[in-house]
Structure formats: structure tokens, C-alpha cells
Amino acid sequence: MSTYGFLVDLGLCISCSACEAACKTWNNVPTGRNVRWRRVIDQVLGVWPKVTTYGVSMACNHCADAPCVKACPSGALTVRTKDGIVLLDKTKCIGCRYCESVCPYGAPQYDATEKKMSKCTMCVDRIDAGKEPACVDTCPTGALQFGKLVDIDHEGVKQIPNFAEPSYTNPSIRFVPKEG
């Protein structure tokens, strides 16, 4: 099990995308290539007028059983032993896109300009400096939280509608479901 995880409170996410803009600037991810490490997916459940709406902010889930790592033929994707963060070493990435095809969350994204993959690092540099990830740090409503997985584990559930079956990858994300 990885040390850290994200906790997403669905009743509080307003789809403002501040998290995505924070990720983009902190990590200096190139624009215009549709490489978006974090993105917000709007959910509309039910039939008008009885609908439940919320945003889900999603990035890499730094899975405990990461299929991307297993699929990577070049050893570019690795699990950091001290905390389970799944990292991509671009110098080793050969752009075969195997990880992309096995990740159920669209986390590793192909940068067609560099011909390499690109992926959320959980802001490993910030974590090492004792800070929260950039996306979590700016979330105005507190919908996106970060913590030790042991702490957030009982604050949320593992599965929500339309989320890929978690037993397959054991993702480090929990959700506070939206009532109603």
C-alpha cells in the first residue's frame, strides 16, 4: 500500500479546475498537447429533474497494484519504495504507450511532441519538502484533500458510480460520496 492518497469530497467539488491550473503551472506541464495530468470530470446522474451533479477531480491514483508499472517494457515507470509514489522516468520512456492502454484512469498521457508519456508525480518534490501537492493546496472548497492513506481510508469509500473497479489496481484514492 502506498503511503499517501487523495480524498475527493464529491459534495464539495464545483468543477472550477483550480486544481488543474495549479498542477499545470507547478509542474510546468506543456500546454496545447492535451496533456493534462489532473482534470475534472463532470458527473450527471439520474434523469431530470431528479439529478445529482458533481465534479470528480482525477489524476494518477498511484495504485498499489499499478498495472502501468507491470506493463512498462523499459523500466520507465517505477514505484518509489519509501512511499509508493508511481514515477515516470522520461529518459527511459520509449513512448510505446503500453501504460496508457492498461491504466483505467487515463493518467499516463502521450505527449506527441516529445513522443513520450507524461504523468502526475503526486508533486513528489513538494511532498519531500513537506508541502501538499499543488492541486490540493489551492482547492478553494476543500473538495480535494491529501493525506496518509491510513488516515483517509476510513473517511471515504473506494468506489463511486462510473469509477473503474478498484480491486484491479488498488488506487490510492477515496471518495466522500455525494448524498442525494
Binding site: 464539495l12 467539488c13 499545470k24 482534470r39 434523469v47 470528480v56 478553494p140 462510473n162
Partner: protein
């Protein structure tokens, strides 16, 4: 953002629509290359500078990380309670504006005499002196030959330096977007509570009910944080909205569908219930308002507005209206916010809606109370005229081309009227000989093609802007303005200011290329055009540094601006002392506004229908939103926010779409009585079946905005403009622009 309807897709490959490669135009507008690469250095290897964000009025305090002279990152300033250490997507995308390769970089003049949106102006680079000499010669010549009113300004009345320049010109033809924003709220607030306020103490409210204003969905951090804080503390949130994916509806305990433009009916019915059942805050209403004096008139006025009557107009069940009214009045502190645009500008009944919502807050007894709408406690920062008094300004005629002077309350405010501009220009051919436009796009108007057709007839236009939006295609001279990240100022808090707080604005990097702060531009232009107003008594030019030092000192913020820069943020935490008298003539709040009655308007909020209602030809209500990662017509070219949302679509209810044979992604022709656009269909269960929604801000036509150009369509093309005659005919006390007041047909192409 991607929208996935239930049971259609998993969170698989959420790649959305691939962005087409942006066309890069050859030319002299050479790109700027951001030097940093790789992750942002952590604070110990970089400098952090305190400043503030300028994309919305709340101006969240921020810390900017600058490394090797390059801005790399911005984050919130925790001690500033506007943002509380958080920033929204617009603010976070700071590097995207600063290093936008399309920024206006040098003064330019047109060589192609043929003007029009989409027509290449043949820009050539000129020096600041050439640009300002040209602008000065035209300004003097125009005033001399055709009089002061032949110069038209499209720009805000502030800041102080800009006001001084406008006063030197002395025209009465100055217009801005206020009628599309909070003009109606301003008129109503001035006459009911004695002044306009931004402050809403959501965090301490126990009951929040929103009509029209999607306070959370706009994603201003100050409000998004406060409303969700209230929610975490157990407050109940009720949102009336025909679109349930709007932010406030998303976080609300109850998201109630309402027929567009009928909010006034529901609010009046809530007032009916609160009065009939005597649920209002008696101490507040009887002690601090004119209710005792006008009780008979007030009760008689609201008596017919029953919940059953409102149900027929709004589709909100009468029992729901009654229940919400009772809960609102008895679970305080309660607040019904009214800020801007919505609800005050959307529909022809916007002023009345604003008036009714204001009264709802008064009845809850929360004006200037914890959990209510409150007057800001701010530092008083003097303007330049107080520091360097000008010679007497030329007198203004007080008569303008749209006819603001014909309306007593709009004349008093002296702002707004973009919605009437095309009509005003059309009715006064040849009157305007010169235009000066600051920071406005033609996308800011209803029916932009109509406005563009009139604006291009103006013989000479100077545009001062940051980005090359479509208005520069109607300009003769372009003056490139600096960004908030490159200028100095003092910004007193007013959005959420229970005590005095001021944050510094300081350059985190020097102005890029040849851009200049607006103050420097106006000083340089002023010295050429109106030298006596821009010099000290001893004949030396006004020193803007001295002015800023004096402002700092006189506002009690420090000995000089350098000291303020070192402090970054000044706050004087003090207990919040609720007002016991209000800044009206009588000191009491006016529920019954006699001034309105005396001028021939309704003294109490009176039901009126919106302007355009569905017909067999145009069966759908048009709705618009500004997506939360954008600010109206400004941020769409930022590479970061553009990537998050770069284009628009038409949201259609799933059942409605099926009935019309429309599938996801089909190209749809959306048509109103004034225009037509084409956008892809996006099917959703989150919208009323009788409404369609087209997000605002897309469809940029300026080729110089290479990221935003040609993506999406302008919702405003569907929205009719109006005239002062229309406003006076409907006895609209606040001159609402009707920016969402349109009905449309939709058809698959």
C-alpha cells in the same frame, strides 16, 4: 472539463476533444519564450513576492515565485481572508497571461484604412511618442472641431488616473458594461439600504438561498470558500436554477428547478408568506426600516403575490415556496445574495428581482449583520485629485447618445449602457468622431455584429489593451498595457471586509516588451494632450511614485509605498460592529422607496415578465454561464485556461434532444430573432427540457489571439440589444441589459 453521462463511459481515457494545433501567424508580433523549464523551484531557490490577483474584484492576495527573473508559480496569501491562501484557475494561470505569445507588445498603428472584425489592419510598430502624438493630435482636433461629446470612451470610470484623463476630455459619452453587471443592483441598493455593497458573510449564515446568481459556480474563491464553509458548519443551501450542474446547485442541499426569468415571482411570494405570517425580524424591520410608516402599502402590495400565483409562473410548487420562505425567516442568519450580472442584468425584470431579493434580506434582518449582506470596513485611499488637485475641469454637457440623461436613476450613476450602445450610435450618425477604448471586447455586448458595424464607422479609435481581442481590429492606434503582474498599486479589500485590510500590488517582473502600466500611459498622454492637468504647480510632471507614497501615507498604511511593499499586507483586525443607522437620507432602510414613486417608477417590486418568452418559432429559453476557469472575454487565449476549456457547445436536455433527433456531438443551429450560431450538441440530464445553454466567452474572431481564434461561437449573437426607450417603456428603474433575455430554436444541421 469533460461531461460524461451516467452509464455511458467509465473514467477511461478521458481524453476529450483533441485540441487542434493553433495556427501561428507570421509577422512582427514575435513570440516571448518562457525561460524556465522543468518543475518550479521550491521557495529556497527562488524569490517570493507578495502581490494580488486582478482577474476579479475580490483580488485575492498572492505570493508569486520568481526564479531568475521568470515568474513560475503563484499561490494564495493565507493572511488575506478574500482568498484565504487559495486561488482559482484564472488566478493560478498567471504565467499563461504574462508569457502569452500573443500579448500586445508595442504601440502600433493601422495601415489598412478598411476596418472590420476579421479584416487585417496591416499593423505597423511605432514608438510610444509617435503613438501618443498621433492620438493627441486627433483628440485635440476632434474636440476643437466637433466638441467634447464627439469623443466616446468605452471604459470604466476608474481608477483615479483614468478618471482624471476622462475629466480632461470632458465628454458625457462614456459607457461601460455595468448595465450587464450590477447597475440595477447599484440603483436598488443605493435607494433601499443606502449604498452598494459586495460583502456577503456566507460563512456565518445558517440559511443561504440563491436566485440566478450562481455564487459558487463563478468560482470566485472568496465566495466559493465561504459558501462551502457554511455548508461544512451545517448551513442549509437552496439554489433556484434551471440548470443543475451550476456550482451552487452542485453544493446545495436543495437544487430547485425554476422557469427562467420567474425568480421575481418566487421571491415576491416568499415575501408574501413572511409578511402574512409575521415571520420577519421584528426588531430590525420595525426599528431600522420604514416599514412602520408604509406598512399598509407594503402589505397591500404583496397580498396578491401568493405562492399559488407564483407557482403558475415559475413551476415551483406553492408548498415548496411556502416552506422555503418559512425556513428562510426562522433559521437565521439567512442570506439571499445579489451580486451582479445575475439576477440583476439577465432579464428585463432584473431590477425588480434585485429589489425583491434585497427586501428578502431586510426582512431576515441581516443587512450589516453577521451572516448577512454587509458594508465593507475598508481603508480610505485618496485619489490622485486629492493629492495633486487639478485645475477646474471643463463642464460636461450631461447629454449622451444613448439617453442615460433621460432616466433619473441611470443619470445619477452615470455608468453602463453597453446594451443601448448600438442603438445610440445608430440614432446619432456622425456624432462620435473619436473612440477611446480600454479593456473591452466587442464580445462584451449583446449582438456583437450590430455593435461592430457601428464602431467601425468611428473615424479614429485608440485602443488600450493587454491582449489583441477583436476590438483592436476596429482601432487605428493600439497602446499596449501592462498586466497586473507588472504594476504598482494599493488594493483595499471590499468583497469580504469585516475589518480593514489592504494588499499591495507590485511588479513581480518588470513590464514585458514595451508595455506600460495604464497610469504611466495616461501621464505620458496627458502631458501631451492636457499638460496643465498633469503637472505640479511648479511645472514639473506629476510624479506617480510620489502619488503612491502619499496614498500609502494618507491611508495609514505606512510611511511610503516602499514600506507597504515590504509589509505586503496590512490588516487592522477589529470587532465587527453592526450598523444601527444606514447611509440613506433618513438613516433607515427603505422597503418602500418613495424616491422611485416620485420619479414615476414602482416603489415596491412589481411583477413583470421577462422580455422574450418562448413561442412556436423560438420554443427554448437561452441560458448562458461563464465557465469557472474564465473571466468574461479575457482569459480564453491563456494557454492554460484555454486547454481546460477552449470552446463551447449547446447543452440540451436528453429527452428534448431525442424528440428532435439530436445526438451527442451533432452540429446544431441555434437561432434567435437577431442571430444564429452553430455549435456541437452536448446532451445532459442537468438542464430543464425547455432550456438550452451556451457557455459565454468563445467564438473569438481576432486572428491575433492564436489560441482562442475560431473556437466555439458567441452566445451574445443570439441576444438582442435594446434602447433607452425600451428601458423607460418598461419603467425599469435599474436599466437591466437583458443579457440572457432571448429565446431560440435549435435544429440539427
Amino acid at each position: 472539463m469533460n461531461t460524461l453521462d451516467a452509464n455511458r463511459r467509465e473514467f477511461l481515457k478521458t481524453s476529450g476533444t483533441a485540441l487542434a494545433g493553433a495556427a501561428v501567424l507570421p509577422g512582427f508580433l514575435d513570440g516571448i519564450v518562457r525561460k524556465a523549464s522543468g518543475p518550479v523551484p521550491l521557495a529556497d531557490t527562488a524569490t517570493q513576492i507578495i502581490s494580488d490577483c486582478a482577474w476579479c474584484g475580490s483580488a485575492c492576495g498572492m505570493k508569486a515565485t520568481v526564479s531568475g527573473g521568470v515568474l513560475t508559480f503563484v499561490e494564495g496569501l493565507p493572511e488575506d481572508i478574500q482568498g484565504g491562501g487559495k486561488m482559482c484557475a484564472k488566478g493560478k494561470a498567471a504565467t499563461g497571461y504574462l508569457y502569452d505569445p500573443d500579448r500586445l507588445k508595442y504601440p502600433m498603428k493601422r495601415t489598412n484604412p478598411v476596418k472590420g472584425v476579421g479584416v487585417d489592419a496591416g499593423w505597423v510598430r511605432i514608438t510610444w511618442d509617435e503613438a501618443l502624438d498621433l492620438a493627441t493630435a486627433k483628440l485635440k482636433e476632434t474636440i476643437e472641431k466637433n466638441g467634447r461629446d464627439s469623443v466616446m470612451i468605452l471604459g470604466l470610470a476608474s481608477p483615479d488616473v483614468w478618471a482624471r484623463f476622462q475629466n480632461c476630455i470632458g465628454t458625457s459619452n462614456r459607457f461601460d458594461h455595468w448595465d450587464e453587471c450590477f447597475l440595477a443592483n447599484r440603483v436598488v441598493s443605493a435607494n433601499v439600504i443606502g449604498g452598494f455593497v459586495w460583502g456577503h458573510d456566507f460563512a456565518n449564515a445558517k440559511y443561504i438561498v440563491t436566485f440566478g446568481w450562481d455564487v459558487v459556480g463563478k468560482a470566485k474563491v472568496v465566495w466559493a470558500r465561504a459558501v462551502t464553509d457554511a455548508k461544512k458548519k451545517g448551513a442549509k443551501i437552496v439554489s433556484f436554477n434551471p440548470y443543475k450542474a451550476a456550482g451552487t446547485s452542485v453544493v446545495a442541499d436543495e437544487a430547485i428547478s425554476i422557469r427562467p426569468g420567474s425568480d421575481l415571482a418566487v421571491v415576491n411570494a416568499m415575501i408574501h408568506v413572511i409578511l402574512a405570517e409575521n415571520l420577519y425580524d421584528k426588531a430590525f424591520v420595525e426599528g431600522l426600516t420604514n416599514f412602520p410608516q408604509y406598512e399598509t402599502e407594503i402589505r397591500a402590495h404583496f397580498a396578491p403575490y401568493t405562492p399559488e400565483w407564483a407557482e403558475a409562473l415559475s413551476d415551483v410548487p406553492a408548498e415548496t415556496i411556502t416552506r422555503i420562505a418559512r425556513e428562510f425567516a426562522t433559521n437565521g442568519p439567512a442570506i439571499a445574495p445579489i451580486h451582479k450580472k445575475t439576477p440583476s442584468a439577465n432579464y428585463a425584470n432584473g431590477s425588480e428581482t434585485t429589489f425583491a431579493i434585497t427586501i428578502l434580506n431586510v426582512l431576515a434582518g441581516t443587512i450589516d449583520r453577521p451572516g448577512g449582506r454587509f458594508f465593507p470596513r475598508t481603508h480610505t485611499i485618496p485619489g490622485i485629485d486629492a493629492i495633486v488637485p487639478p485645475p477646474a475641469y471643463p463642464a460636461k454637457s450631461g447629454v449622451d447618445i444613448v439617453g442615460r440623461h433621460r432616466h433619473p436613476f441611470l443619470k445619477a450613476v452615470g455608468s453602463g449602457m453597453f446594451s443601448c450602445l448600438a442603438d445610440g450610435l445608430r440614432k446619432n450618425p456622425g456624432k462620435i468622431q473619436m473612440g477611446i477604448i480600454t479593456r473591452y471586447s466587442t464580445m462584451a455586448f449583446p449582438n456583437p455584429p450590430e455593435v461592430e458595424a457601428e464602431l467601425k464607422k468611428i473615424p479614429f479609435t485608440v485602443v488600450c489593451d493587454i491582449f489583441p481581442n477583436e476590438i483592436i481590429e476596429l482601432a487605428d492606434v493600439v497602446l499596449p498595457s501592462a498586466l497586473y503582474l507588472e504594476v504598482s498599486d494599493l488594493v483595499a479589500r471590499d468583497h469580504h471586509a469585516p475589518y480593514k485590510m489592504t494588499v499591495v500590488r507590485q511588479p513581480v517582473v518588470p513590464p514585458q516588451f514595451e508595455t506600460k502600466p495604464l497610469g504611466s500611459i495616461l501621464l505620458a498622454w496627458g502631458l501631451k494632450a492636457f499638460p496643465e492637468y498633469w503637472k505640479n504647480p511648479d511645472g514639473t510632471p506629476i510624479n506617480m511614485g510620489y502619488v503612491l507614497d502619499e496614498k500609502t501615507k494618507r491611508a495609514g498604511l505606512g510611511a511610503n509605498f516602499a514600506e507597504m511593499k515590504a509589509k505586503g499586507f496590512v490588516k487592522e483586525v477589529a470587532p465587527f460592529v453592526p450598523r444601527t443607522s444606514f447611509p440613506t437620507a433618513s438613516g433607515k432602510i427603505n422597503i418602500y422607496v418613495k424616491a422611485f414613486a416620485d420619479a414615476g417608477f414602482e416603489p415596491l417590486p412589481t411583477w413583470k415578465q421577462k422580455r422574450d418568452v418562448p413561442s412556436s418559432q423560438y420554443p427554448f429559453y437561452l441560458l448562458t454561464i461563464i465557465p469557472p476557469m474564465h473571466i468574461r472575454n479575457t482569459t480564453e487565449n491563456n494557454r492554460i485556461t484555454n486547454e481546460i476549456k477552449g470552446t463551447n457547445e449547446v447543452f440540451i436536455n436528453v429527452q428534448t434532444a431525442r424528440g428532435l433527433g439530436i445526438s451527442e456531438g451533432d452540429t446544431i443551429k441555434v437561432r434567435s430573432r437577431v442571430g444564429e450560431i452553430q455549435v456541437p450538441a452536448r446532451l445532459t440530464e442537468a438542464i430543464r427540457p425547455d432550456c438550452v445553454l451556451v457557455p459565454h466567452g468563445f467564438g473569438h474572431q481576432s486572428r491575433l489571439m492564436t489560441a482562442a481564434y475560431g473556437k466555439g461561437a458567441k452566445d451574445a449573437i443570439l441576444v438582442p440589444g435594446q434602447s433607452m426607450d425600451d428601458i423607460l417603456a418598461r419603467k425599469d428603474v435599474g436599466g437591466a441589459a437583458c443579457i440572457m433575455d432571448a429565446v431560440v430554436s435549435i435544429a440539427k444541421i
